[in-house]
């Protein structure tokens, strides 16, 4: 049966296709493309959203130069990069570990895997709010539990410039390790059993099986997890806004927090539009790479 069967009555496939797709495309054009173009336009002006009456002047690439020369922006990018590296590394290690363990399929494993998955679905802003309570040095349970494992004395996760970045890494890991676990478990389950059976016949050791079969077959999934998480954490705003609001000082001021400050507190619309475009280009680049990898994974 050819896929373009023409029915006797009613609208043709072609008409229906357009009717079905157009509303979606129109909405996306109105709320995504148009704003994007507007942002690009704004990035070349000195517009300030809190002075709508003021004269709007084109400033060429001045905003972009200022963004790229701003020490504060680079600090923020460094903080973001540090956050990305630490959180993704931890999540991959923990997630892979959990996936390997869950793959053993012990009894009740699906119950416990669902339990582990719960934090992933919560609102990051609300998570940030109640973790503030846990990190309180005077009465929070985090300090209490940590001191259980050894006497670390009194420390302030959110107030100490050395510890605050680890606080956000910790909460992010708590939320998103299940994501990596889920993804890598799918990867593990996609490994054809005959590979292991062949290895058994060759009297391979556990370590060899892992190194030669498991790891290479799961590697695309690991890369995918890294890319997905990198894109999400680069955009990260909700959790950090609530947990530390960029403090103490600016050690946890990630890119999106800086963007919000510039755009909605200082109202430097032109400047922040330039920053937004730069961030978008970075994320777009990462996404292209992701999609290419996705194709590779799907082909297996």
């Amino acid at each position: 049966m050819s896929p373009t069967v023409h029915p006797q009555q009613g609208l043709s496939d072609k008409a229906l296709a357009w009717i079905f797709v157009t509303p979606t495309i129109l909405l996306l054009l109105a709320f995504n493309i148009f704003p994007l173009i507007w942002t690009i336009y704004l990035s070349f002006t000195n517009y300030r959203a809190n002075r709508p009456g003021a004269e709007v002047v084109s400033v060429g690439i001045d905003n972009y130069q200022r963004v790229l020369n701003s020490e504060a922006i680079w600090e923020s990018m460094r903080a973001t990069a540090g956050f990305l590296c630490a959180s993704i590394t931890l999540q991959i290690l923990l997630g892979f570990g959990l996936a390997l363990l869950l793959n053993r399929k012990f009894r009740s494993h699906s119950f416990w895997s669902t339990a582990i998955l719960l934090p992933m679905m919560l609102a990051p802003a609300v998570v940030g709010t109640f973790w503030k309570y846990f990190f309180e040095p005077q009465y929070g349970i985090f300090n209490y539990i940590v001191n259980f494992f050894g006497d670390f004395g009194s420390f302030t996760m959110l107030g100490d410039t050395a510890l605050a970045p680890w606080a956000i890494v910790l909460v992010d890991t708590w939320m998103w390790t299940p994501y990596v676990m889920l993804l890598l478990l799918a990867g593990l389950r996609s490994i054809p059993p005959y590979l292991y059976e062949a290895a058994e016949i060759d009297r391979a050791s556990e370590w060899t099986k892992f190194w030669r079969i498991t790891l290479p077959m799961v590697l695309p999934f690991i890369v995918l997890a890294v890319l997905f998480r990198a894109i999400e954490n680069f955009k990260m705003f909700d959790l950090v806004d609530q947990l530390t609001n960029g403090g103490p000082g600016s050690v946890t001021e990630l890119a999106s927090i800086t963007l919000k400050r510039e755009a909605f507190e200082k109202w430097r619309t032109g400047f922040s539009s330039a920053l937004a475009i730069i961030m978008f280009v970075a994320i777009y680049g990462m996404s292209l790479v992701t999609v290419r990898f996705l194709e590779r994974v799907k082909q297996r």
Partner: protein, 442 residues
């Protein structure tokens, strides 16, 4: 054919529904926007009088302080119709006047015989005028406020502590007159055990997000003689905001933070300080006088357990101004009703009730009344503080100036980055750039 009566009935029902809802809408109502704190609750009670006299229902939109400025400025910038009346922070006046968010009230005042001379001059200049000090009024002073101190009178009264302190410092354990004295008291209490619990010296303002730490450091900086800019040449900052007085003040605040605050007190503003004080963690707290009525009533630390004192002195006496004026929002559909509210609020009789309810009236009829000092335990501190207040910038670009100061001072005081001179030099550069962008400086 039976459709017609049904149709008529339906149309009639809809018409009645519509007229009922429009009649409902005509039921007079005003929305007042302010911060969510004790005085706001007092205003709710007080406004019942307005509703009784005018028939206008009052609705309130209160937002907690850390989010207040952002929410409300966002609201004004987006020409929102949520608020008819706004009790906005004194720093917003510049932006609100230039962008036309607030209604100019001069004509209204003249028509209704409301005289600015009847209000405390510091509040008139700080809360209502733009440019500052001119006779353009965009608000009515609603709530006089400044940063001051509360202290545990009951702890200070303990005989053993008194003896120990006198032996160590040669003077009585009493509310400090100078900043150095305050630091000594802070160190005296830091880490001491009282009633089986470890306590600390003082709760300071250290908040990073909105304006907290700035509202704290300015006190020590003013007291050391700092000026923001050259009095002869406005916006000329070099040597003023980063001059020796400012540096001394900032350094002192950090020393105070390092020596005498509870652990983890790194992002504290009004509610966190209240928390620390009420839970018996600190001997003293800095906070806005607006909270003093509530503290006075508190079951844990109120009444005889708490005393109040104004900002200590260093080179001069100075305190950071707080307080707000009440304005009519230009985008409101009910400006005339809103003006009615302001007319009601400005009456001396209502202002007296406002003070009694816990709001800080700025009307001279209330403040000059004999016996005012005895009307509440915190009344003398209020009067004394309002005489020494200094304010932060009210420029239209104040938000940027504030955020820069937040960042630089928090980086130094809390995160320990660099020296106070470096922090203030960086701040001077930040501010100069902001003024350049604004066209105030070449």
């Amino acid at each position: 054919m039976n459709l017609k009566p049904k149709l008529l009935a339906a149309v009639a029902a809809v018409a009645m529904g519509m007229s009922a809802s429009s009649a409902f809408a005509q039921q007079k109502q005003l929305t007042l926007c302010w911060a969510a704190w004790d005085p706001a609750n007092a205003l709710v009670e007080l406004s019942k009088d307005f509703t009784a006299k005018s028939g206008v229902q009052m609705k309130f939109e209160f937002v907690p302080w850390p989010n207040f400025a952002q929410r409300m400025l966002n609201e004004l910038n987006s020409k929102g119709k949520l608020c008819d009346l706004m009790i906005g922070d004194s720093q917003w006046i510049g932006s609100a006047a230039t962008e036309g968010h607030y209604v100019k009230l001069n004509d209204f005042f003249d028509k209704n015989n409301i005289k600015m001379a009847d209000f405390m001059p510091a509040t008139v200049e700080g809360y209502t005028t733009w440019p500052k000090g001119t006779k353009n009024y965009y608000a009515l002073p609603a709530m006089g406020d400044a940063v001051a101190w509360t202290y545990r009178k009951d702890w200070f009264a303990r005989a053993d502590l008194q003896q120990e302190f006198k032996a160590k410092h040669g003077r009585d354990l009493a509310p400090p007159k100078t900043w150095d004295e305050l630091k000594q008291i802070g160190q005296f209490f830091q880490g001491r055990t009282i009633d089986g619990k470890k306590v600390y010296g003082a709760a300071l303002y250290t908040e990073r997000g909105s304006e907290g730490i700035t509202m704290g450091v300015t006190n020590t900086m003013y007291a050391n003689g700092m000026r923001y800019d050259n009095p002869a040449k406005p916006y000329d900052l070099k040597g003023y905001i980063n001059g020796p007085e400012a540096v001394a003040g900032l350094r002192f605040y950090k020393e105070l933070f390092d020596c005498c605050t509870p652990p983890g007190h790194t992002n504290a503003y009004m509610t966190e300080n209240l928390d620390a004080y009420k839970s018996g963690q600190v001997a003293m707290q800095m906070n806005f006088i607006a909270f003093f009525p509530g503290i006075n009533k508190d079951p844990a630390v109120g009444g005889e357990k708490t005393g109040f004192f104004p900002m200590p002195t260093a080179k001069i006496a100075a305190a950071q101004l707080g307080g707000q004026g009440i304005s009519v929002v230009n985008y409101s559909a009910k400006k005339d009703l809103a003006l009615e509210y302001i007319k009601w609020f400005a009456q001396p009789a209502i202002q007296q009730k406002w003070w009694d309810a816990g709001g800080a009236s700025a009307h001279k009829a209330v403040l000059d009344k004999p016996g005012f000092e005895k009307s509440a335990a915190y009344a003398p501190v209020y009067l004394d503080s309002m005489k020494i207040v200094k304010d932060f910038w009210q420029e239209p670009s104040y938000a940027q100036l504030l955020l820069a100061m937040q960042k630089r001072t928090h980086d130094y005081v809390i995160a320990g980055k660099g020296t106070p001179q470096e922090a203030l030099n960086a701040l001077e550069k930040d501010w100069t750039e902001i003024f350049k962008e604004d066209g105030k400086v070449k």
